[in-house]
Amino acid sequence: MDNLIEMRGITKRFPGVIANEDVDFKLRHGEIHALLGENGAGKSTLMSVLAGLYRPEAGTVLVRGNPATFNSPRDAIDLGIGMIHQHFTLIQSQTVTENILLGLDEPRFLMRLSRYDKQMAHIGDQFGLQVTPDAKIWQLSVGEQQRVEILKMLYRGVEVLIMDEPTSVLAPQEIDELFKTLRSMVAEGKSIVFISHKLHEVMTIADRITVLRQGKVTAAGIDPATTSKAELANLMVGRKVLFELEKIDREPGDVVLELAGVSADNDKRLPALRSIDLKVRSGEIVGVAGVAGNGQSELGEVITGLRTCTSGSIRVNGKDVTNRSARTSIDFGVAHIPEDRTHVGTAPNLSITDNVIMKKYRTPPIARRTLLDRDAAQKMAEGLKAEYTILAPSVETPTRMLSGGNLQRVILARELSSEPTLLIAMQPTRGLDVGAIEGVQRMLLEQRDEGAAILLVSEELEEIFTLSDRIVVVYEGEIVADGVEADAAKVGLLMTGGSHEAAEEHAA
């Protein structure tokens, strides 16, 4: 089979790091080629070179056998190569069609968009991309917005589509949708580069896999049928990853968190939680399984005092904290790893020091009456930086400079160092690479062994199964099952609204 794209000896340097070193990459016509690697392995950089965003220091790119030089993404698109980034570049207040036409030479003067609407719908049908051309972007779900990004590339006649971590923003059902779309695009003769660090996705969708580690290729174009997850993980991180974490048996202690009949509304003032009863004991991890958007976020917020409940009561260590403040829950020893690291968990322009003292600045030694003891704060930050191996030039570095994994370590350092009695861990490993995931999971288990009560909310079933002592399933704001066994088929059915009996039958 002919190589549609051939990248030879690509080297790309950034200050202090070599993002790609002498990398070869070949893409065949009509394949889905997964580019696998940890965060920071150089996957996005390599593809940004192909998409005309970066110019490499060395190496050549051949498109259909001819050498090509790109000075801008436009040059790449002219040669039929387009890239969809992790963060979408759509204008919220404009329609789907307007966004797709943006930057093109047509329509020239009159904005007769209805003609284009039809065209968009037609391309959508061709590739199985359901969109409403005259809908405004803000009305669309993240999955739909991604379809608009894909359409944008297809409309520009792209033959090679590069997708950077396309599943990181999607809910599980949306991922299935996306995979269907990718397959139909390949059937129509397109070629796809699929950037990911998720092993199971890569195993599902890819025809061939290239693995990058620290800017170098560790495996080129291997067939997923001839490899295993363990082998790929090894290629990614260069050491054996222990997927089986050691978990000691431990009798749970007293009830730490008790929710009785808790209901709450979401931001749109629609009911998000319906009469939730839940207990979490000391030394126990309770895993909350559920498809995103079934009330998990609201559950975390209600317990940590960030959202008021409309009925019911919440007790921590027997004390009533219902509709008290976020401050109360902090004072009662509730730690919270928020879902959204950058928008909730940290203040991006403040230093690591200022970020780790966020929950402790009111108490000595950081607080000296009304003043902030900067030396004590810095000392604490230095200590946490070493203990939690936060990689940064200094504790004065603003957290916006940190990678996802390091940012999560800052949050973990802050939340776990307070020796919490109760820990609310929301999606604690989302978007992290294999090595970092393992570290986070270990830390959670350590907290459990030291007697913390942990409520773990995660979309990764595997994670819930590995870590939890007890599993509950939420569906449409209700706990539909408490204490189910770690069986993917059963839990999966409950998560999607299947009844208990059906789940039992299915399992039987």
Partner: protein, 374 residues
């Protein structure tokens, strides 16, 4: 479309290229150095413009420098001009640090002046009260009136989510009208739109008061308000960067959702910070009528409250930097009147502002000229 045309277009390439990389860390000396170079470059650009319109840039600059900093006398006048700017600049910096866009420092300044005047003219302190008691009462009243003018937009934003930009702006006009009501009607002195001159006890001491002991001080107009302003700026800096409250303000300013998550009450801080900001601006009004004008009239400020916005930004919202920036601006205002009512000094002010804002990029990025490879 083909690569050959691309190559042809690229056949000549400049041998050097700019590399722009984000900075992970910036050393402490970098920010002041970059600002200094920016100001120097701005002066060079101003010189080019002056030369183009046929002026002699060296003479113009020498004149500006002379008129603002050339002798003890004019430098003293510069400090007088800088004093209200330090107050309003600090007031804006404090509010802006929490991303509260208080553009009502002008009105708060007027309210502070009104409050201080009431103390004198409504007989809150007797005419023969000591200077200390009189000035203290004026300062307290000035701060309270200014703070009240900050409280209104603060509570409206905290309770009802009203945009503070609109309310603080509108309250300026109400403050002007209120002051006019008093000077046109109640306290009008012989039909003029001004109050009577305050008694001596209500005046900030001036350097010239010391002329008997130190002859060199003769005619120097710098008043105690300057010291007062510097002390207020230092206290404001201490609050922002060394206190628990300041930490809360900075955290809310950078990410209100993170602040909420850390258990900080945003609504309470919105009200308090706008009151602090208004109070500082109000002290500026008090200082101006006590130190310079010695009565209440409508022309107590040529827009110090608005210049304070620019000063706060140039000082990067750091109250300590507000002091030198205010002195620079005070000098330019003074020299401006010497040379031309509006032209050249404004031009230079504008270029300096522009260059300082543009220089930010050097703090966030490392820019290097490197030889092209490949």
């Amino acid at each position: 479309m083909t690569s050959t045309t691309t190559d042809a277009r690229r056949s000549f390439r400049f041998p050097l290229e700019l590399q722009i990389e984000p900075r992970m860390d910036s050393p402490r000396w970098l920010a002041p150095l970059v600002s200094l170079v920016a100001v120097l470059l701005a002066l060079v650009m101003g010189a080019v413009v002056l030369a183009l319109v046929g002026g002699n840039p060296f003479r113009a600059y020498a004149h500006i420098a002379g008129a603002a900093f050339g002798s003890l006398g004019v430098f003293s006048d510069t400090l007088v001009k800088a004093t209200p700017l330090i107050f309003t600049g600090t007031a804006c910096a404090v509010a802006f640090k929490m991303k509260l866009w208080n553009i009502g420092a002008e009105g708060q300044f007027f309210m502070g002046a009104l409050g201080a005047s009431i103390v004198i003219l409504a007989g809150v302190v007797s005419e023969d009260a000591s200077r200390f008691v009189t000035l203290l009462a004026m300062a307290v009243a000035g701060a309270l009136f200014g703070a009240a003018w900050g409280f209104i937009p603060g509570i409206l934003k905290a309770r009802l989510g009203v945009n503070e930009i609109i309310t603080t702006l509108m309250l300026n006009y109400i403050a002007f009208a209120l002051v006019n009501y008093f000077i046109f009607g109640i306290w009008s002195e012989g039909g003029f739109q001004m109050t009577r001159t305050f008694q001596r006890a209500a005046w900030f001491p001036r350097l010239s008061d010391l002329a008997e002991q130190f002859p060199i001080m003769r005619g120097l107009t710098t008043h105690a308000g300057f010291i007062f302003a510097v002390v207020v700026a230092i206290i404001a800096w201490y609050i922002l960067f060394r206190s628990l409250w300041g930490y809360e303000i900075r955290l809310i300013g950078d990410n209100p959702r993170a602040a909420k998550y850390a258990g900080i009450k945003i609504t309470r801080n919105t009200v308090l910070v706008l009151m602090l900001s208004g109070g500082i601006a109000g002290l500026g009004g008090m200082s101006e009528i006590s130190g310079v004008i010695h009565r209440l009239q409508s022309s107590i400020s040529p827009g110090y409250g608005f210049t304070g916005i620019i000063i706060a930004w140039l000082a990067k919202l750091n109250p300590l930097l507000v002091i030198p920036v205010s002195i620079l601006f005070g000098g330019l205002i003074l020299a401006g009147r010497e040379i031309q009512p509006a032209g050249v000094p404004r031009l230079i002010q504008g270029i300096i502002l522009f260059m300082l804002i543009a220089s930010e990029v050097f703090l966030r990025y490392r820019v290097r000229l490197v030889r092209r490879t490949a």
